[in-house]
């Protein structure tokens, strides 16, 4: 009963009411939707607590493994997470110290990681150039090259400008088609859950 029936009933009821609140915004439905979505955000907070327990389990386990490489990394991770957690819980997320830490360490660090992706992507592009020579790869590289050229701040002649606009139109078509296909997938996956056909919450 707790494995399948009640969870499925719960998913169907919650999903149906929230969807109704979005699609039929009359009467009490939108307010009900807001309440139900807010409950879900509370549950997501509890989920984060479980996720943190998992992080601790993994990294504390590594600390006590004899041959585990990078044991110091695990120690740093645990210490940093605990210190920031205590600080945020005691002083609040907007405390100066917390914000200073975010501005000086976390944001620059993430920005540097984003910068790293430029290099890893460029390396991937060169690998593609070397290894794959089919028509789709050529089109992929052509799209990338033309877009990079268009990003260079040079005064191109009007005809080149026109060509670039068509390049943009072709790319827009491809990306929109991809997006619309994904929307269909999302719709059907969600609908199967709300109709109670699909039960990922019970392990499939």
């Amino acid at each position: 009963m707790f494995k399948n029936f009640l969870p499925t009933l719960m998913a169907v009821a919650a999903g149906f009411l929230v969807l109704l609140g979005y699609l039929v915004p009359i009467g009490f439905l939108p307010t009900l939707r807001q309440v139900l979505v807010r409950w879900a955000t509370i549950l997501a907070a509890f989920a984060l607590l479980l996720a943190y327990a998992n992080v601790l389990r993994v990294h504390i386990g590594r600390l006590f493994q004899k041959r585990a490489p990078y044991r110091v990394s695990s120690a740093i991770l645990i210490a940093a997470s605990f210190a920031i957690l205590v600080l945020v819980v005691l002083e609040g997320p907007n405390h100066t110290l917390v914000q200073t830490w975010l501005q000086t360490v976390l944001i620059p660090g993430q920005s540097a990681l984003l910068a790293l992706t430029a290099v890893t992507l460029a390396l991937a592009g060169t690998r593609l150039l070397r290894t794959s020579r089919n028509l789709y790869s050529v089109l992929f590289l052509l799209g990338a090259l033309l877009t990079l050229l268009a990003a260079v701040p040079v005064a191109y002649p009007p005809i080149v400008h026109l060509v670039m606009q068509f390049v943009d139109a072709v790319a827009t078509g491809g990306i929109r088609g991809l997006l619309l296909g994904v929307v269909l997938g999302i719709l059907m996956t969600g609908l199967r859950i709300i109709l109670g056909i699909d039960r990922p919450h019970s392990g499939g």
């Binding site: 969807l19 699609l23 989920a47 386990g61 992706t117 992507l121 991937a124 690998r127 991809l178 199967r192």
Partner: protein
């Protein structure tokens, strides 16, 4: 209000079509009048439409990447290595949540087989709610295999609550663990290139799939078309691997909706043109 009415109509049409196609498939009717019918019927699916068996190999027609996932279990186990499944950062409460759920369904065969052989993959997530779902699926796989005691809590790991940090930290698994295969399947953007780059440095075999253009663009150069699951294909994993009628019915419904979208675009074009001509004539 018009937008909500249109969305409601799409939902109702989809639900009715799903019911009809699902029932037709369940009755074993192979011929479905869709021009682009992409699917075959499962060869050994039971007439009741229930899941035929824990093994996914009862199918005659399977998309290679999904079949390859479960093939990897044996190959990697023989080599004494492990599989890393990176599920991305698509949380259940966002639009990407369904992408993550679809990815997990596509991995169902891998999970079932891994549980049966007690060679669990490392599954990593960048979202807490997705971590719970992946943990539940793996645990359920072990329960189905009658080996719940063998389940290890650290087989599914929550890595970090931000996509970039998740990718960078999960990439270190490729260096630390003896990995034979890396499957990056789920909600990814360009950060996935950190994962593929790390895997390639260690000569780990790569598979992948994403729904977003940025994620696919980052995966394509290293994975190639044959081992890449692109956009809407990701949502076909459940049908390919689990094979229940509802999943096949979903694919047929998607095809129906696809043509309705094409008609809607053409009608909007005609309305746009006629409106201008009428304004010009007036």
């Amino acid at each position: 209000m018009i937008s909500q009415f249109a969305a409601l109509s799409v939902v109702l049409v989809s639900a009715v079509a799903l019911a009809i196609y699902g029932m037709r498939h369940q009755r074993g009717q192979r011929e479905i009048p869709t021009m682009d019918a992409p699917v075959g019927t499962p060869a050994q699916e039971s007439q009741s439409g229930e899941r035929p068996s824990p093994t996914p190999f009862s199918r005659t027609h399977v998309q290679p990447p999904f079949r390859a996932f479960s093939d990897e279990v044996g190959r990697v186990a023989e080599a004494g290595a492990a599989i890393h499944v990176a599920l991305g950062s698509g949380g259940l409460l966002g639009e990407q949540g369904m992408v993550s759920i679809a990815a997990l369904q596509g991995l169902d065969a891998l999970v079932t087989l891994s549980a049966a052989y007690d060679t669990p993959p490392f599954m990593t997530t960048g979202d807490a709610t997705l971590y719970l779902l992946a943990d539940t699926q793996l645990r359920s796989g072990y329960a189905r295999a009658g080996n719940l005691r063998g389940y290890r809590h650290t087989a599914v790991q929550f890595i970090a609550p931000s996509p970039l940090l998740y990718a960078a930290q999960a990439a270190t698994l490729a260096a630390d663990e003896s990995l034979g295969t890396n499957i990056n399947l789920g909600a990814f953007d360009q950060e996935v290139s950190l994962l593929t780059d790390a895997a390639l440095r260690k000569n780990v075999k790569l598979y992948g799939g994403a729904a977003s253009a940025l994620g696919l663009a980052a995966l394509y150069p290293d994975i190639g078309r044959e081992q890449l699951i692109m956009g809407e294909e990701l949502f076909a994993g459940g049908a390919e691997v689990i094979g229940r009628s509802a999943f096949w019915g979903s694919l047929h419904t998607e095809n129906l909706l696809r043509w309705l979208i094409v008609v809607a675009i053409i009608v909007t074009m005609l309305v746009s043109l006629s409106g201008t001509f009428m304004a010009g004539g007036g």
